[in-house]
Symmetry: C2
Subunit: 205 residues, 2 copies
Amino acid sequence: MGKQGYHHGNLRQALVVACLHLIEEKGPTGFTLSEAAREAGVTPAAVYRHFEGREDLIAEAALQGYEIFGDLMEHAYGTGQPSALASFEATGRAYLAFARRHPGHYVAMFESGISVQRTPALNLAASRAMGVLEKAAHALSQHIPADKRPPPQMFAAHIWALSHGVVELFARGTPGARSPFPPEDLLESAIGIYLRGLGLIAPDK
Amino acid sequence: MGKQGYHHGNLRQALVVACLHLIEEKGPTGFTLSEAAREAGVTPAAVYRHFEGREDLIAEAALQGYEIFGDLMEHAYGTGQPSALASFEATGRAYLAFARRHPGHYVAMFESGISVQRTPALNLAASRAMGVLEKAAHALSQHIPADKRPPPQMFAAHIWALSHGVVELFARGTPGARSPFPPEDLLESAIGIYLRGLGLIAPDK
DNA sequence: TGTACATCAGTGAACGCGCGTTCACTGATGTAC
DNA sequence: TGTACATCAGTGAACGCGCGTTCACTGATGTAC
């Protein structure tokens, strides 16, 4: 783990860290391989010992992101059990918390243009993570009378879109899109209203 | 408007068009000034007759986007009048329609990192456009009993986030984020549920 | 414990390339008379 | 209508730069005996 001397020790991971940092600062297409190498304290050529190129590096960052994200989501889901509603709300909060705490990962996952089909491992990690959201939505939708129940996938898509929109517009440095409300409150209140619209929580508070 | 011969005729606008096209294809940081010049059929040096550089060019694209967007929103708003609900729903639809029809503008406006404070003109155009959304939200919120009425800005932020999320995740080429539902349906149904949650439309359909 | 050697992970020089930016220039257009 | 001239909008050559990628190399590490 040290980096003194000729051999770095853990260059592969150091490059991922540098990549995440640069993504946060300049966006997923705003930095070069050489910059990442420089930030890791290494010659550009050394990168090729570990990655095929820039895309491959970003894909690794996204993969690690999906793994962290999946763990977080599963933990949040478990936290709310056995209440379907509590589980659902916990995953929503976890989504936002992840985006805030791991902005580089978030961008690599959702804004870098890296396809989740790129690799079986990436696909698997992504499916697991998003699967938790769907599972939570599905469990919750069981509490809606069958005749007025929207498909759980639609359900999950709504909440995902809402969360993503809050992240992109209000939880990031997007200038001019500031709102007088903290993103957490925005998301929580929106989800509350939405769930009330589905009849899942009391119409009067 | 012709482009034969030494003089181009309307290079400034041709560069904006090229910029929009390149943004759609490669993202806001994925192309170079020289590429834009090439696409407009002109030497890189010619760009400097019209713009200070890459950022300036993108800012112009964003400005034009806000103007189109503002017109569209105002028209949609008028369409729904005098019903506050109809006006509100029309602006929501217009948002998505704009994002689909003008993806380059959309990205230049919301994803390029261009600050709306960059220029008074840009600020003005953006304020006007977003103002329509807020006006629609405000008018609609008058129909909610005052004691359970959320602030209209929060209201507008919710809907904006939802719309933005749908655009980003489901209306663009983001691979892996496909959903079995058309984005228009997703947005419409989500807004419906949301408005029901606010008591603005009948709880039973 | 010591030595010889294979393997590994980095270096640094080299290459060709396209970039942004500048500059003096030149061809086209518009206008005064 | 014609001519002279100012203005404008583009050219193309030049510059220095950092990039991605390759390659033979070398220093460090690990291991067999």
